[in-house]
Amino acid sequence: MNRVVITGMGIYSTIGKNIEEVNKSLYVGASGIGFEQLRKDMGFRSGLTGIIEHPELKGKLKRRQRVGMAEQGEYAYIATVEALAQANIDEDFLEKNDVGILYGNDSSAKSIVNSYDVLKEKKDTALLGSGAIFQSMNSTITMNLSTIFKLKGINLTVSAACASGSHSIGLGYHLIKSGLQNAIICGGGQEINYQSMGSFDGLGAFSIREDQPTKASRPFDRDRDGLVPSGGAATVILESYESAKKRGAHIIAEVIGYGFSSNGDHISVPNVEGPAKSLEAALKDAKVKAAQIDYINAHATATPVGDLNEAQAISKVFGKKTPYVSSTKSMTGHEMWMGGASEIIYSVLMMQNSYVAPNINFENPDEYSAKLNIATETIKNHNIDLFLSNSFGFGGTNSSLIVKKTQ
C-alpha cells in the first residue's frame, strides 16, 4: 500500500484568492460574507451570500478553453494553477505521467438557467452557443480542467452534495494508496449566483441576519439561524509518497484516514449515528485514537439541527475532552460542493503555521456545543500533528478525513 501525501494546494475563495491571502484571513478571523440586493429583488428570503470577484481568464486561456467553463470551473482553474505550481508539476510532467482529476461539484445551475432564458425567447437551440452544454453538466470542472491541463489519468466528478470535495480527496487517497494512480488533482468547486441558490433559499435554511452579514454565519452558537451560501474552488494535489520523493517535491502533509457513511435516513435532516460512524471509520483507517487528534475542522454550517447533531456525534466519539474544534464556515459561509476540499486546505494552513483559526461569532453555546472545546478566538502557538475534517451532505452522505503533519 502506498502512502498518500499532499504536494500542492491552491484556492480561490471569499476570504482570499490564493493560499497566502487565505492564511492571513484565517488567522485574523476575517469574514467573506456580504449582502446581495439582487437576491432580494428575485424574491429570496435571504440576501446573504459569500462575496467573490470573478477572475478574468482572457489572456490566460484561449477562447475555446474558456467558452465551456462555468464560473466554478474558472475558480477551479485558478486554484489548480496555484496547486500545480506549488507541487512543482509542469506541462512536461503532465505529458509523461498519468495524472488524474477527481473534483467535487454538484450543480451548474446558472448556465442551465441562462440557456433556458435564450430558448424561451428565441425558440431555437442553434442560438444557445457551443459552450452551453459543457458549462451545464455536473462534470463541467473535470471536463474542462482535464482538457486544459491535458490530463491522462482518472477523470471523474464527485457529486455528493456538501461532502463532494471531501469525498474527492478520500477517493483519490484510495486510488493512490492502492497503486492505481500516482498523482491526482482533487478538490471541490462551488458556483456563487442566485440562479443556483433559489431552491435552497426556499427551504428557509439560510440565515436572515441581513443587517449584520459578517455576524450571520454562527456555527455552534446558541442564536444561529441558518447557513450562508458561499463558494469558490479549492485544489489539493495528492501524490504517492514514492512519486513525491522521486521527483524531490516538497511534502506538505499526509492523508492517513478516510471514513465515510450514509445515514439511510431523512433527505435533509442529518442524524447523529451516521456522522459518528464516519468519524470512527476515519480514526480506524488512520489507526489513531481520538485523543491523538489535535484539531477538528467541523462541518457545522450554522443550521440549528445540523450543528446540534454534529456536536453530539463529536462528543460521542471524542468523549468529554475534545480537541480544539472550529467551523471555518463562520468566516467563509457554507462552501458546499467545495467545502470538504477547502477545509482540508484551511486545516493544513493551521497545521503548517501552528494555530487554530477561530470559530467567529460563537458567543453563547447551546446544550451540546457547550461540551466541545470550541476555539472562540485564534489559538496561537498550537501544534497540530493530526487533524480531522468533517463534511456531511444532503441525502445523509458523510465523509471524514484525517491528515498528518510530515516532518
Binding site: R63, V67, D124, A126, L127, L128, S130
Partner: protein, 82 residues
C-alpha cells in the same frame, strides 16, 4: 448596411470574440486552416451572425464557405436580402 460596413463588422467580431489576429484577416485566409475555426466555433458563429445581422444561418450553408472572402460574400448576400 454597406458592404464595407459588413466587412468591418465581421472583422471586429472575429478579432474580439474569436481572438484572431487582425493581420490574419486577409480575404484568401482559410477559415479552417488559417483562422483555425473548428466545428464548435461554427455553432458560435450562428449566434453571433444572428445577433449582428439579424438572420439565421443554416448549418449546411457553412459547407460552401472556405475562405474569409466566401464568408464576407455570404453575409453580404443574406444581410442585404434580410
Amino acid at each position: 448596411m454597406e458592404n464595407k460596413e459588413i466587412v468591418i463588422k465581421v472583422n471586429d467580431f472575429l478579432i474580439d470574440e474569436f481572438e484572431i489576429e487582425e493581420s490574419q484577416l486577409v480575404p484568401e485566409a482559410s477559415l479552417k486552416d488559417t483562422l483555425e475555426i473548428d466545428s464548435l466555433d461554427y455553432v458560435d458563429l450562428v449566434v453571433i451572425i444572428e445577433k449582428n445581422f439579424g438572420f439565421k444561418v443554416q448549418g449546411e450553408d457553412f459547407a460552401g464557405i472556405k475562405t474569409l472572402q466566401d464568408f464576407y460574400d455570404y453575409i453580404i448576400k443574406h444581410a442585404q436580402a434580410n
